[in-house]
Amino acid sequence: MKNMISKSKNITQLESQLIGSIDELKKALEHAQDIMETIREPFLVLDTKLRVITANPAFYNTFKVLKKDTEGTLVYQLGNRQWDIPELRKLLEKILPKHTYFKDFEAIHIFPAIGSKTMLLNARKIHHKNLILLAIEDITQRKELETQKDDFIAVASHELKTPVTSIKAYTQILKRRFEKRGDATAVQNLMKMDAQINKLTDIIGKLLDITKIESGKLVFKKEFFDFDSLTEEIVKEIQLTATNHKITVKGKTKRRVFADRMRIGLVLVNFLTNAIRYSPRAAKVIVHLSAGKKTVTVGVQDFGIGIEKTKQAKIFQRFFRAARPEKEVHPSLGLGLYIASEIIEWHNGKMWLKSKVGKGSTFYFRIQSE
């Protein structure tokens, strides 16, 4: 009898524990459900056979599908097979089983009901529950805005070049006339004006380059050229205007490279003008040339203010400037190194720097050679 009572007590205990667990489970499910309903991005929970267990309201709203047609359906068969997207198949069937998750995969697809959409896909496999969580962010509008912004900058900078062309032409006409009359002050002022116009042209050109880089429209033209000759040419050009610095070239690569000559030249110009700009008290800049097995390396060394360690990683980012030059002779947008790094990256090259505050910096790039 005693035994019976004890067993019954145990059962009652187990029962209340079970009820407690079920309650907790219900609460957890409700909690998960609340999270899913609150998330603004479309979200799917799939089983391992890729059937939809549940979807959140954002999914139904964005993709104009009904709950009854969604739950229990194979993800690819949703809404007249509109989700049968090759990229998604690859991600779910090939990448997810191996890596348990994938992050920020961009997929473009034309949906019959809502048109073309650019989506950012994120998924995670939850092993102990045999579930796959799939988050779909609709980034169509963001992408469109980015394109519009780039188009706007491209058009605006192109349009800006027209008045700049005539301003520059008239400045030079006036300069010539004053030269003939022997008015040295006017000539000097007009030369300053012309230099400012050149700076403006340079900024417009960089803005154009940026929009082209980001939309992948920048046209590179590869050709074979002698690397040392290009360096020499650029050094001569920069030396003409760098009256306070002596630029010395140390070493030779004795190599030909197959690259975009004009743009590699731009990178060198950028390195050299930065070296001069950020070392107003130094008298020299050294260009180091060397060659590896099938590579050429350039290092442009200045003896200026240097760059703090924390800022070194950011230096190749768009609009970043480590410091304002001591004498702000040439204000800049901080685009030069960003463009330079994009150019080197396009050539499958490498760009880096070594720097010590107060001692100076050396900027390097390496590209392939013959």
């Binding site: 070049k161 027209t162 700049v164 062309t165 301003i167 520059k168 032409a169 006409i173 010539r176 042209t201």
Partner: protein, 119 residues
Amino acid sequence: MSKKKILVADDDLAILDAIELILKDEGYKIEAVVNGQTIQKVREHMPDLILLDIWMSDADGRDICKHLKSTDATKHIPIIICSANRHTKLIAKEAGADDFILKPFELEDLIATVKKYTK
């Protein structure tokens, strides 16, 4: 010696005027075309050199260049294409232009290029 004749086609009046001023100073006779009748004007004046803007609001400099370079009466006339976009250099070459000037230009570069084709 009679003055060499240069036809300048550009849809921007300020640029057109500036080029005219510069080249007149150098002793050239200028025919300015602003409204896209370049081909007719070339036939009419038979210039010694053509300075052609590539993107005009009502005409495409490339088409004009191709047309003039494939027409017997005008194919001998040197054409310099002007553009604010440096990538146009290749396009200019493909269109059959003899040379290319990037806008904004240095006055000396413009004069030197023009002189090269009007010796």
